[in-house]
Symmetry: C2
Subunit: 152 residues, 2 copies
């Protein structure tokens, strides 16, 4: 008798798959909306920069560490974002050998637009699934994050 292979994770509806599906849908909608709002150059990969950059600017090496990327990969992302005027890269005033990355006016406008679109999509999805359920979901996601961190 031929043994059939185990069903694979996507079909098994693991917790990981359940978390990933709405995240990817949300992300797809957000970036499409950002493109429509005048930020067509930004890809999900660039979130590694926008997610971690500090308001006062960050060092390239710091950003690479926070995003768990090599310095080379981070430099590549930053080069692209500098070229399209989302960040500026200059010497670090505190350390002449280091580079400091800052958001430009356009970079700040992008983040502001991304947050606004994210809140709007969440509010609209909340109307469909019920606002109380959305609030419970938010709380449960925080609880899950804490629970996983507490595992041995």
């Amino acid at each position: 008798m031929r043994v059939s292979p185990p069903s694979f994770p996507e079909q098994a509806a693991t917790l990981g798959a359940l978390l990933r599906r709405p995240y990817r849908q949300l992300s797809g909608r957000l970036y499409a909306e950002m493109a429509a709002q005048g930020f067509p150059e930004i890809r999900p990969a660039h979130s590694a920069v926008f997610r971690h950059i500090a308001p006062e600017g960050s060092r390239l090496t710091e950003l690479a560490e926070l995003a768990d990327l090599t310095k080379q990969s981070m430099a590549y992302l930053l080069g692209y974002l500098e070229e399209h005027d989302y960040v500026s890269i200059g010497p670090d005033p505190a350390d002449a050998r280091a580079k400091r990355v800052r958001l430009t006016k356009r970079g700040n406008a992008f983040i502001k637009a991304l947050l606004a679109a994210s809140q709007r999509i969440e509010a609209e999805a909340g109307k469909i699934m019920g606002r109380a359920k959305m609030q419970q979901l938010r709380e449960a996601l925080v609880a899950l994050d804490q629970a996983i961190a507490e595992l041995p």
Copy 2:
């Protein structure tokens, strides 16, 4: 007066950030556990293959489409997995010009181990946050996924 930049998505606790945090923790734990169980070669990037490959095998081009990767990127991932004996790549019986990718015994063993570890971590996290809350979370994640799909 200096205008301070908007706080960026990670601090704003957008729905996206709330979904991503437990997902990344879960994923980190899973792959560390898989390495400890004898599958050290597998990286999160390889999930693009394991998530989509059909029990009867899949074409390289199908896998690339499903994973939203170029044929070249998918061929690169598959080459690595073939080298480490997780998949076999041969001619497609239905089309001599196409290639068919199948899970090897080791590839099937990996998926089985991954699913078992995923269910165990979920059960343990459920003990910490409460099983009823975990069940509600699962249902709310499905509802969210549907709600986002229904948005105009």
